[in-house]
Point group: D2
């Protein structure tokens, strides 16, 4: 259960970190979309392991192979099956965790829930899965582009190194100018140093990503349980290592504020507001302003230090990370965050077509 995302535009995925392939099916993609395959690969490349010195060194070319649903370059309205090969899985790196539960990993919970687990590379619990999301997200982004929607995401914190400026004062075309995907060069340098020193210590570090969707028209999102921000929040909390989500923009802690301080005054008939503490969503429905959210990541659980744990029989053991891992996931998570935003928005876009007589 739980391997499908969306109600109309639906992504269903399969695959383990060390299986031969990983992949998915996109159902509900409208027919007639001329696909830009380079854009899909571009997003995959931004997520790809081994892309720089600050990411895991697992080498995956991450070329997606589409198996159906596309004819002469266009979507046909039938399901789009796709696979990506796992080329550089090193399963023997994981033989030591076969009978051991790594701290803050899903080893223990999978074993107890299912009574069996594919321990190699974390199996289904690995963030390798997110490669599927980026494929589907890049398709979704192309549909949204036709509606005038643009999604931008960047690293706003690595540990305690944080961006101080507001996104409106930054040049968001510079996001990919550095390895860490932070649009301000000076802060980016500090973030990279922080990641490198953390890695040298065999440690990992948390961080934060900011995501913005511009051009979303008024009226996407449902009124009660499928509020737009609730669905965006769920999509972000699905990403491995995410432990928190906030939406709304303004440089203050909104829950510490007064209504008179954070109410957004509508200034024109298009619904543009003077401030955007609401983050582009009111009553669960987009209001025409920028959608703005922050996503909080835990440090990666796998550290290259000795930690205590237990094995399957309950004996106390020591474990130490092997294999190739990220010391900080946020640089590679930028396209993943964009993808989940796109999947959520495209679904609400399609649902919104049924709102009125």
């Amino acid at each position: 259960m739980g391997n499908t995302f969306g109600k109309i535009f639906r992504l269903t995925t399969f695959g383990e970190s060390h299986g031969t392939v990983i992949g998915g099916i996109i159902d509900g993609c409208p027919a007639g979309l001329v696909l830009d395959f380079d854009l899909i690969q571009h997003q995959l490349d931004r997520r790809r392991p081994g892309q720089s010195k600050i990411t895991t060194q697992r080498k995956e070319s991450d070329k997606v192979e589409f198996l159906s649903g596309i004819f002469e370059g266009k979507t046909t309205g039938t399901p789009i099956g796709f696979i990506i090969k796992n080329e550089d899985a090193k399963s023997k790196d994981y033989s030591h965790v076969k009978d051991t539960f790594r701290p803050s990993h899903a080893d223990f919970t999978y074993q107890k829930k299912y009574g069996i687990r594919d321990y190699r590379g974390g199996g289904r619990s690995s963030a390798r899965e997110t490669v599927n999301w980026v494929v589907a997200g890049a398709v979704a982004q192309q549909i949204l582009s036709l509606q005038g929607v643009e999604i931008k995401s960047f690293v706003s914190a690595v540990g305690t190194v944080k961006l101080n400026n507001c996104y409106k004062d930054m040049d968001l075309t510079k996001i990919d100018n550095n390895l860490v995907r932070c649009p301000e060069e000076e802060v980016a340098d500090k973030m990279i140093s922080e990641i490198e020193s953390t890695r040298k210590n065999g440690d990992t570090i948390g961080g934060e990503i900011t995501v913005i969707a511009k051009g979303v028209p008024v009226g996407w999102g449902e009124a009660v349980f499928d509020k737009l921000h609730a669905d965006i929040g769920k999509s972000m909390l699905s990403i491995n290592a995410v432990h928190g989500f906030k939406f709304g923009f303004g440089g203050v802690d909104i829950s510490e504020s007064k209504g008179s301080e954070v109410n957004d005054i509508i200034v024109d008939e298009k619904g543009i507001t003077k401030t955007n503490f609401s983050g582009g969503i009111q009553g669960g429905i987009s209001n025409g302003n920028d959608i703005y959210a922050e996503v909080y990541f835990k440090p990666v659980a796998t550290i290259m230090q000795k930690q205590n744990s237990i094995d399957k029989e309950g004996n106390r053991v020591e474990v130490q990370g092997k294999g190739r891992h990220d010391a900080c996931v946020v640089p590679r998570a930028v396209p993943i965050v964009e993808s989940m935003m796109a999947l959520t928005l495209v679904d609400h876009y399609l649902i919104s077509k049924t709102n009125k007589i």
Copy 2:
């Protein structure tokens, strides 16, 4: 769309703030549950408007009337229909917003999305709707109790007035000892003062609720898109005025931390961990420790001060709150948070019955 919550245990609701009644249908409730109707009413009373000097003075008795699905005091496995009367709606208080969009309200987004809206009392966008959730949540809590699960929720912040201690050092039986539902009397007093002075100024204030679920066994939650914490997050973000959600416990900012600082070491075969930065969930699946999350509330949008806005024709207008409103929603939101946690958990409990051969 979007008026149903859950996959197996499903709540579908209807109703506007100023309609004659509001209500819902619980489908998928297991048969044979002996219902404790007093407990349901008790939760409704905790949410009820007019319960104290620090809440809105709208007077609703909020007595639930069950219409089906219960026979001789037990659930029958068929859908449980229920209604609650709206007794004290004062729709004329809202005639001034008929053609005007209140700042940070859903007036504008509903009007544009649907082309029509029931403006009286905010219609469907009103938090009046949450009375339905409390009915269903109180049923869900009774199923969870039989599984040994106990849900506790309390106000941990009103504006900048915050609890300093950890929930483990508090006496959670004291939550209802004061009007604000904060288990530490001294902090509670400050919170109440803060709310009262805010109200005197015709203003509103944000806050924070902490929610804990004890006794959740290992294995609830699905692996990829229906991670337990993602579904809890979505449920909380569905609550009116909630703008953020974090899970994980420990008194540090997890996204600012190192892996070596926040990894949870498993100390026994039941999966109990030394720390609980994971908040009781690993890889989207409960790990047997306390589930712990924080929910962030914006200040109520309706303030008794003049604010600029526009009307339906795009003319600039001044609006000022009328009617009876909360200056701070968190005291009344405590049972709502508990209810959404219960609805999420009971659904995952039922799904978990199908996990293994």
Copy 3:
């Protein structure tokens, strides 16, 4: 589970035959529909018990009360809650079945599945439930009317008394000219006699309803599992006492035929075909011709004759029908069949809005 019908236009229902009320929630109804309440009541009146000498004499006025989702006569896009009172339930007629399982009824299966059942009037298994479907179906029909779709249904057989002519040669405006809802007066008279003589014998009799949807545009229905005819079939098989469903028109047994005999030749660019053995659907998708299906009903299980059965303890007992029952359900089932067709079509209409870029 299983008390919701539809994916976008969703009906969720509750209620037992002898509860105080029965009702439902329509979610996903587009906003801005000007409701014709008389048309809704008209359909309810066609289904109403006690409407003529050939139906059950239970007297229900079956006035629907709408509770939400409608403002100033128009739908608002929010859920439409509704209830219908059960006015004439005579529960004491059922005390004899409290501990006994009636032959071919759901008494035994409910008892074993749930361990408890509301035996009064058959509880949730009663066809009383279909009153909810007619309310929602009549709303759906109004949306479909705006798309040029007209649904017609009539009784084509009572026992072995059958219509011989094809629907194209009949005057379908005459359906309601007689008690049995058969458009050919002479056959209708024979059907009425058949029902009356059956009833006099304390017996019941099966029958058949034909349903036609005219004006459905090309393109409704999904390609693989949600084929239009599969969803129509499921909707019809949901109706109490229905045991079979066939679609396709032509006066021959299609499964006994050759391809050369029953292929439909397309004669113009709108897709109009010379014959309509496909019943208006090809590959699961409407093709612009009349949708045509036949629905087969079992005789009502409750007969006024002594039958053997067992009680809860497994003892052999004799049971005999009491209470007021239909000797033949098809006259009253005509609006129910129309309603399920409408609910299926409106859902596919809304889904079809998302098919293309």
Copy 4:
């Protein structure tokens, strides 16, 4: 949309007849099932084209390749991805239908619905898709076997050649003793002759399959919209060329009968009934008797005779079948019918685990 079947045990599929591969994802399969891969291949072989002189001569080995969700021979509870290669697609056989709509095919409806179609081999509308269903159905059957459920299906009619005896008097182990999968040798011979003479005339012929599920315990199926027989009916109507479905057993036309003739008398406390006109289901819930249904197939639309039609521009054209096709699908459809029955039953089995406290 519409490429997913099931609520808990969910099959999602993709693929076109002439793509490189076709495949699917099974989500919600319980963990710990020891898979019998030979049984899966056995069912695929029974559906395989080219298996005998009375089927299409397209040669496909139809070996399934599992990509995930299985570890050391057991299911892990994570999604099971699988593919089957399309080895013998001859797309040039279809160039003549690129711009032409074949009679009683989905060419026209796909073109109009989506504005684009993969015309090669019928694309997504081809019965090639059902190979995916047999893979998933064979997995489902293994779960059902552990519950004591056995599904049997056989050809009961080819055109007007029909079985006269009741299934209880036949030796169902003989189903695969002949090419047509009819358990009575003499009738089977006539059916084979009928198919062969039909084929010689360049024609096709319809037929009927009977399906029986033995050992289904009391209590599967939901009460109102997800009645067991309604879901079975939908599953059967999803199969290419199926145009009708009836359930209930007894050698009479039930809709022509009296209640006194077709009521099933319960004779013991397990719910065994003297007759089985209800086909093992009462009130939508299995009653412990054999589930019995009949499935009606149209003749294949592709005939080797000249037929009139139109092309994309609306011009009148003549079309004639090319490529390799079945003259009668029912022999190969036997394992497909079994698979859809298994998929429906396994889903209701899993849902039934949540029925009671």
